[in-house]
Symmetry: C2
Subunit: 430 residues, 2 copies
């Protein structure tokens, strides 16, 4: 008899089937043992009734330990009170791999202990819920761009020169030279946009920042679309459509998981276009009204982002920051040369910046001047400058950080739970 | 008037539209200029007739250089002989960004020159065809596993210890320790399979091999599924279904691109299940018959793979290699302890190994012995060994290299053209 996945048990009502999985919980009551079994596809309760099995097997079933792997032969029965809608009446149960002293028990554990046991912690219902939502967010990202015929163009990880200094870069010996791990695929996407119009990359990026905050990972995934013939307004249109899409996909497909995480779904259902768009100047006004005295010209930190986000019930887009806050490639606003045609999207509920982007400088002379102003080596950007020499066009894009998005959508305090194997300043194991 | 994408021109037959794009070719004949325009979505011919525009504009149109960006107002007309089925009768043409002395001309260029100008080379029809097929292959990989409810579990890039020595690993300072760039996510996927049943990871992997062959990149993308309750036979079933799917998706969706590459499509159409499955012993027999005297116990190289693949008209799976050829985690065959329950899939037409995989050792004691035998530090694998302590189950998986698959499907001699920005021993720019 072939094994049936637990999620498919409903197709076999009244029939005998074999399932294979792990015991994650158990309780007994007189002549009954209730074995809670998961196999990755779903969970089911397997009921061992003393009258249905040999005394030996009934006793053995009582001794199955947490996380032992088991094979169970049983009859599928309707069971309306359970999530699955079905349970299993056990005829035979057999342990495949025993589990002795499984370290993660239903009692409370410290975060450090759980992170050390991440390879096992992933099995718990809460972590599973986060990973299911992460999986859905990533699928939605790809579907969104595939549906719009964006071409995936993978950016390289090894890069020769630092875009903006080497301070926060991981360095490696690369045969007879040095290479740095990429912080962003953007410059490469600009080249690709000149070839294919609408493109995106989606891969891991790296930041060697010495910070232990709840928002920082050394290794995180980022998706970066880039569009030719696109200005800052169209860029914001795309960003809000994109974020609405991925959040609503989670709302539609991950009801159970959001419930497991006790997430207030109404806050997510609310994430619908149009999102508010305010200029940096307006953001400064809001801050000043609220008693935060950030002077014009300074970038915002987490505190400022939270103060601004409190004014809105959905993500807010702040555009046109002072030129000095932003990278050299940002497009100067012709209306007001002091500001850049850039945008940050701040998640609601204090989850901080999830998107950074904007229109890129497409004028060769201005770009050359900016490179000098920022003290960057011109020769490192020769190929990038080529894009302004051979058919330069208006273009724009943005980057969305997956882990911060997962933290926001799941309602998690710390990003360390948003990725299967988090890499932090003080953690590269398991 | 909004800009229309070239691929959508057919919806506007008889109407005036604006397109924006780049001029990739041009020819003139008396009173006509034929401008070949691409915008990333498709290509179209824009016809400038002397009688339709001012003399000034007619002359200016003649001077538009290769890869200049242009904005064109014109009327959409049916044109059956073109791929698109439509052409544009030009009313106005205007240069957005001039292109002076574009380096890649229709004449022949050396590969080194083209690789140095990769950021521009990507614009050429041949490179576009490869990138479209790469995009389709990657989409098919994700669709295949999503359709089967595999959970995406991203493996980390930073790893603390070397799975099998540090010789071929890129090393980086990681705050107060060393980290290595991952060669494979497999061990992490095994942990994930114990949590979620069927899982996969898909990301860049790194190999610091000092080899300049046509099959080696230092940075390449790999997809690695892992399945709980799966043996070597089921693993091979999955591998052949998977490869058939991605190849047939390309055949179905990329006809134009395969034609551009002059690929013999019949060879790809033939990639249908079942694929031949031969044991290592049978492979050795084939080699000996063909005059290759590889002794039993040695691994196969490119030459052997090519000789074996010549016997078959589709990919061939070679299973049960000698234990000593393979990594410590391979499951020993109970029927014949000299061989491992592993499998390599060799592409036809001499394109070499595209898949490596197999069943994993799930017995704690045997695995411990193998780690000792291979001289590996047991403490580095403590968490990996945990997977055999807490509910161990039969499990298997495989890894498929994207770039080798793209090379095979596209019929390319060298992998450097299969990835947008190839990283080779002597190349990390642009």
């Amino acid at each position: 008899m072939d094994r049936v996945l637990i999620k498919n048990l409903g197709q076999f009502e009244g029939q005998d089937v074999i399932i294979k999985g792990w015991l994650y919980n158990k309780r007994s009551s007189g002549k009954l043992h209730f074995l809670q079994i998961r196999d990755g596809s779903a969970e089911v309760q397997a009921v061992v009734f003393k009258g249905d099995v040999s005394d030996e097997m009934f006793e053995a079933a009582d001794k199955i330990t947490q996380e032992s792997s088991v094979e169970i032969l049983g009859t599928v029965k309707k069971h309306d009170r359970s999530k699955l809608g079905y349970e299993l009446s056990v005829k035979e149960v057999k342990v495949i791999g025993e589990s002795v002293d499984y370290p993660i028990t239903p009692k409370e554990h410290g975060v450090d202990f759980l992170m050390k046991n991440r390879h096992l912690w992933l099995r718990s219902p809460r972590q599973r819920a986060i990973m299911v939502i992460r999986n859905r967010i990533i699928k939605s990202v790809r579907d969104f761009f595939n549906n719009k015929d964006f071409m995936l163009v993978d950016a390289p990880i090894f890069t020769p020169a630092a875009c903006e200094g080497t301070t926060n870069l991981f360095e490696t010996d690369y045969f007879d030279q040095k290479a740095y791990l990429s912080q962003s695929g953007q410059l490469y996407m600009e080249a690709a946009a000149m070839a294919y119009g609408n493109v995106y990359c989606f891969g891991p990026t790296f930041r060697a920042e010495k910070s232990k905050t709840r928002r920082h990972l050394t290794e995180f995934w980022m998706v970066e679309p880039e569009m030719a013939f696109c200005n800052i307004e169209q860029d914001m249109d795309m960003a809000e459509e994109f974020v609405e899409y991925i959040v609503q996909q989670v709302v539609d497909h991950c009801k159970d998981e959001l419930e497991t995480l006790e997430r207030d779904v109404s806050k997510l259902e609310n994430v619908k276009r149009p999102f508010p768009r305010i200029s940096y100047d307006e953001a400064i006004e809001i801050l000043h009204k609220k008693g935060n005295d950030t002077p014009w010209g300074e970038d915002f930190g987490g505190d400022e982002e939270t103060l601004i986000s409190q004014e809105f019930d959905r993500p807010v887009m702040i555009h046109r920051y002072p030129m000095e806050c932003k990278a050299f490639y940002m497009k100067q606003d012709e209306q007001n040369p002091k500001v850049a045609k850039c945008v940050d999207m701040i998640a609601p509920e204090g989850y901080g910046e999830i998107i950074g982007g904007g229109q890129r400088e497409d004028n060769l002379d201005i770009l050359l001047a900016k490179i000098k102003e920022h003290g960057l080596p011109e020769e490192a950007f020769d190929w990038y400058l080529d894009l302004r020499k051979y058919g330069s066009v208006e273009h724009a894009g943005f980057g969305l950080g997956i882990e911060r998005t997962v933290a926001w959508v799941c309602g998690l305090h710390h990003v360390r739970e948003t990725i299967p194997f988090a890499r932090l300043m003080d953690r590269i194991r398991p």
